[in-house]
Amino acid sequence: MQQLEHLREHARGRLERIGNVVTSQVWRLGFASRFLFYLVVHSGTALRRFRLTLKEIYFAGVLSLIIILVSGLFVGMVLALQGYETLQRFGASESLGVLVALSLVRELGPVVAGLLFASRAGSAITAEIGLMKATEQISAMEMMAVDPIARVVAPRFWGGVISMPLLAALFSAMGIFGGYLVGVQLIGVDAGAFWSQMQAAVDVRNDILNGVIKSVVFGIAVTWISVFEGYDAVPTAEGVSRATTRTVVTSSLAILALDFALTALMFTGGNNQ
């Protein structure tokens, strides 16, 4: 009898813990949404004093250029090598341009650039804001009646949101250039067929514009997660390091999940329109 009572107590404790985790996650999501809303409403300073945002574009965008360009080049080169291997079996090696361009513009450009952006720039944003909180710079600003969200968080948010689509476009363009280098210069696919088949198959609205929309959505998601994790970090060394890890993990998962949802919306049923 007593054993049964004990077991019941144990089960209740476990259920309570699960419930607690779920509730706290939902609570955090709600807080994050309110944070985003407040951030957008109070971003007047960031846009009026555009210098602040410009500096963040420099940190998030310009300093990510090297990794984005080099990765894009290599991804395009690998795509061309692997694609050629398969396509030539069906005697369709001229379609290499189509394969490289469509996979980059629709999927790989936004997604891989987003993942790189999350680990290169997102983690830096979280660490910076988290450290500012840990060293009480944020509370000092509040003390001086400066709104830290308007002064610190909003410029970083807009800097990231502006940088991300540009980085994704650069990634795709660089990848197509890499595909051209390997496909045409190295393997010897006909240059005219490479470009003309690509131009015939890639649609500006259906493919390129949808890719840009994807990269904008990823940019908003990654920067939102980054600034929120930084602002919400436990103000200790350990808390900041955990927040940085969470930023990269959550952003990557968010990018992949959003990518599936956006692809399902954009490219299915597009067959007959």
């Binding site: 940088s163 363009a173 329109q273």
Partner: protein
């Protein structure tokens, strides 16, 4: 690093990014080859359109002269009603034939226009009366098999 250098770098970054977008739109997506020119709408009925899709090219003598703008099913004639946007630069006689063709064996389907001899040209809102449906592979095979069966029966008699 002082601020003017940051401005310069951000400027370079934005120019590069917009340049990449422009490259994607112009060189990869080939924008502007057909979107700016004026078009006129011509319709045609087909018994079967096969795998024709909206935005499929319309070619005459192999040259792209327009795009399919709309495909719908006519509930009264039980035929497919295809709307075609033709470039206003190209004029076709009224007795032009529209065929649904396939580029290559596995390629996509497009509409081929063959000009007739009529002096009157098609204008916006007209219908192309002479049409030829898509070739459906299954029908072709079954026809072939029936012919074969009919041939092999005769010597047996």
């Amino acid at each position: 690093m002082n601020r003017s250098t940051i401005d310069l770098w951000v400027g370079i970054f934005v120019v590069l990014g917009l340049g990449a977008l422009l490259f994607l739109a112009l060189k990869v997506g080939n924008l502007g080859s057909f979107s700016t020119s004026e078009t006129y709408l011509v319709q045609a009925r087909f018994a079967n359109i096969g795998g024709l899709k909206v935005r499929a090219p319309i070619k005459s003598a192999g040259v792209v002269v327009g795009r399919v703008s709309d495909i719908r099913f006519d509930n009264e004639t039980y035929e497919a009603l295809v709307s075609m946007d033709l470039d206003a630069y190209y004029q076709f006689p009224r007795d032009t034939t529209a065929k649904i063709l396939t580029s290559g064996i596995l390629g996509e389907q497009y509409i081929g226009l063959e000009a007739g001899g009529d002096g009157v040209m098609l204008k916006g809102g007209d219908r192309v009366r002479l049409t030829q449906s898509a070739v459906v592979l299954e029908n072709l095979i079954s026809q072939f098999l029936f012919n074969k069966a009919a041939e092999s029966k005769e010597p047996a008699k």
